[in-house]
Symmetry: C2
Subunit: 536 residues, 2 copies
């Protein structure tokens, strides 16, 4: 397909992609900054495909050289629009080149990227725009109505065509003019590696969204760790999509916008939610890596288009614990799983001798700290506020806590929340877990999701894990239901696998549960014959 | 083979391998330190083989758990011996567990490791001991005579058996006592990531050896980059040896003592120079990775024991440029090459279509900056002392310069040499190179090795590259010889490949040279029928 980037996207004929180090730096010091990985990729692999965006009326394909020029243009345009170091730049966009640009261009302008989930309600998006103090919004045309009331600065709308005449493309072209052909040397490097990189907001939690501020140092070290742990290479093809795998707007795409480029890989962005498009990339573009929370992948593997892949693809799972059933389902499609940051599961040699189900259970553990992360601990708080490790007995429940370079800097503009999250000198995850004798951790639940039934602690996650092993279960979610006698009782919402017999299912599943679970853990089952999945 | 580590080497039954972060650190800050990779490996893979040392009367095998305990013992013993933060600890040892221990134990004592080449002359070793101000020497029994006159502190001799009764093992056992079972928490973490890690001395250069001081930050970032770039994994087996591959004492083993452990790999140390032992490890232990300068590997691939490997092994080449002939020779044995820090060669997709010889020439280029390194530049110095890049024309010769996190901190106790090395804000390598239109660099020579023949600059390396392509040449070294008419003339010392015809070789090689080289580059050839190789 003939594709021509805009004239402003075509770099001048030079390979020098370099910024000038501040004179205050020692010869052996460079502030860690994920921006550096793009300049290096564009220097070494200028002609390699960096971004592929195909399932749209006008597909675009950017090489590393062209993409780096677009990023440079964006940085100049932002500066010309008044953006100063430390300012926030908001982006509301689906998976498309624009948001990939922003993960570099905003940093190149020494600003902080606030990417916002476009599926939030308008008032939530406005709360985030206001709380972050964003000075500019770059928005995809489909979601422009969500930010129409933004008053703090310019709104740049992209029609996602990569064509001149689109406001976003004109904005980039203006940046090229401002650069005056000084190129990268006209953009000062951020001297402080503790400066902010991204400000992404929580959602689906209690209360108002909180802004998670990350640093350049943390983003860089997490990206390098991801590239290493996921075995990303220059042959890798990474997929961004919103309903079946991780979208880029979510939590800085778990640092994969930078990890992929560190590895010189190709990123595929699709705004489509169409299974045919998604599986087309797996089967024909040759996707080798993606990230995703467990629930969204249930839809991926159960799509009618799903086929076993010729070459192993790696799924980086995070967000919540994968069930053994999900891991087995992915393996059938030749999709290997790793369970990602901040912890990951490190398979042990002895596991090779176990049955698939036994192994799946071990693989579903959260494991150990990631490369470049500090040890993840499971702790209880003593009366004097000191935190102590739980015994390594696979039984004593504590809270998962962590610290180190890849932990966030703070909850933005929220000293109370930050102080609370960091009490005891660790980030308190709110996840309840046990620690096995080998130091592995297993998350039982979010602390607010633990079910207290007859005085016993039942883990909704552990119950889900067991029920998901039943062959007729497509998906299962367990919650606490108030109960007059037991205080709380677990209640299971179950999606029947298509084609399975509805009659007697409840009894079959209850019998299955009684075999595998303690009495206080046995749920009241409410089978739901639903279209699609529980996951939204 | 039954192997029992000393009682002091057996860790207490706990997996908690953790130091307390200084209270001054933010929750999202941990000083980068290569020590951390060992504690993580011992936590996650306690029972995995970390060190294998086999070709000695009493072989030893250390798991990660045991090794970490030995390292902890060493740190306590060093502190009890009076070692304070920033002190230097000298090690004179062949490839054996002792020197691997020291790469962690010395850092755990917050001291700086000075590992010394035991093949230097006694007076050179003493110069280094004195200049570094080492406070203690740990020495292998075979080389104890070299440090007998050391007066500044204790000399700990190891008999390399791993057995109680050896002075080094007793030293470790004493460390275990001092730890008082406080374990790792009794050793404070180094708060400053710019603190010294290693102090290794140059040799074979003009004048006195210079001490290259590296930082913890630099060592950590270089180790992570090496693990990534070399694709080290927990299945990897890394070989240390002294005559055919890189020994650990040399330049901190190019950071592979830490890169291997970051990857949870197994290190094999052999003190033997016996080809049978070396090839035994390639063929039976299953070595997957090693480092080496080009010259030492000529002996490796030409050993009678050499066989094609079943599984591809990766050779990380550095020190000088590999000839295309060497790369081809390694490929025949199923040994793939990467050309390592600070630069490496990044193969381009288009190279796949080229002939083996053409591709070898491209692969032999020094390439681009390594992961975690800043761009490597080729520069000339203007009259006003500003440095400017050479044109990317593959012709203009400049000096290779570099800066960034993986550059050394300084020449220890030598302000003049440091200032000179760092003039213009870059480390001046002294290597002369050109830069190709794609930004790749090719080193022509050390600046002092360039041959000026009839006013033309001849590169000894380029001449070596061409002569090495002749099928009868095993090894070649080109130097400048003074000449009454031309000023200098290249002179080649050539080792004839065993079994090749001595008669007429000179003429054959001269004819070959005339076909491939300019007149001023054609050397006077002095074929040498030598046993072994030129490389010592």
């Amino acid at each position: 397909m003939p594709f021509e980037p805009t004239p402003a996207s075509i770099p001048p004929p030079t390979v020098l992609l370099r910024q000038d180090p501040p004179t205050s730096w020692a010869v052996n010091y460079t502030a860690l900054n994920p921006l550096s990985v793009l300049l290096r990729a564009a220097l070494i692999y200028p002609d390699k495909p960096a971004l592929i965006h195909e399932d749209v009326p006008r597909p675009v394909y950017y090489t590393y050289a062209v993409w780096a020029q677009r990023v440079q243009n964006l940085a100049y345009a932002l500066r010309a629009a008044g953006i100063r170091p430390g300012d926030r730049v908001a982006v509301v966009a689906p998976n498309c080149p624009l948001i990939a640009d922003a993960h570099y261009g905003v940093l190149a302008a020494r600003a902080i990227l606030t990417s916002i989930n476009y599926r939030l309600k308008k008032h939530e998006i406005h709360y985030i725009l206001e709380h972050s103090g964003a000075k500019i919004v770059i928005v995809d045309h489909e979601y422009a109505h969500l930010v129409r009331d933004f008053k703090a600065g310019p709104i740049i709308v992209s029609d996602d065509t990569g064509r001149e005449g689109c406001a976003y493309e004109d904005f980039l072209a203006s940046g090229r003019l401002y650069s005056d052909e000084k190129g990268w040397r006209g953009l000062e490097m951020e001297p402080d590696e503790s400066a902010g990189a991204t400000l992404c907001y929580t959602s689906g939690t209690t209360g108002r969204p909180k802004g998670v501020l990350t640093t350049l140092r943390g983003a860089y070290l997490a990206a390098v760790a991801n590239a290493y742990e996921s075995r990303l290479t220059r042959e890798s093809v990474y997929l961004w999509q919103v309903t079946r795998v991780l979208p880029m707007f979510h939590a800085a795409g778990w640092c994969f916008p930078w990890a992929t480029v560190f590895a010189f890989a190709t990123q595929v962005t699709i705004r489509s939610v169409n299974n045919t498009h998604i599986w087309n990339h797996f089967l024909r573009t040759g996707v080798t890596h993606y990230c995703g929370a467990p629930t969204v992948q249930i839809g991926l593997i159960n799509a009618p288009e799903a086929r076993r892949l010729d070459k192993t693809c790696t799924a980086i799972i995070a967000g919540s614990a994968p069930t053994a059933a999900l891991i087995a389902g992915l393996e059938k499609l030749n999709i290997a799983t790793t369970y990602g940051p901040m912890t990951r599961n490190y398979p042990q040699p002895a596991w090779a001798a176990l049955s698939a189900e036994e192994r799946s259970k071990l693989v579903a553990r959260q494991g150990h700290a990631f490369a470049t992360a500090d040890e993840v601990r499971v702790v209880q708080q003593r009366e004097d506020d000191e935190i102590v490790d739980v015994p390594l007995d696979a039984k004593s429940v504590g809270e998962v806590v962590m610290r180190g370079n890849i932990v966030m800097q703070e909850y933005f503009s929220d000293e109370n929340a930050t102080r609370n999250a960091f009490r005891g000198g660790y980030f308190r995850s709110g996840d309840l877990a046990v620690r096995h004798p080998d130091g592995n951790i297993s998350i039982l639940d979010r602390s607010k999701d633990i079910i207290i039934s007859g005085g016993e602690n039942a883990s909704s996650l552990a119950i889900e894990q067991e029920l998901a092993a039943h062959p007729d279960v497509l998906e299962v979610s367990v919650v606490a239901r108030p109960h007059p006698r037991w205080g709380e009782r677990p209640m299971a919402f179950v999606v029947l696998r298509p084609g399975k017999d509805r009659d007697g299912f409840e009894e079959r599943l209850n019998a299955f549960a009684r075999e595998r679970l303690a009495g206080f853990e046995c749920p009241d089952v409410t089978p739901q014959v639903l279209d699609g999945t529980l996951a939204r």
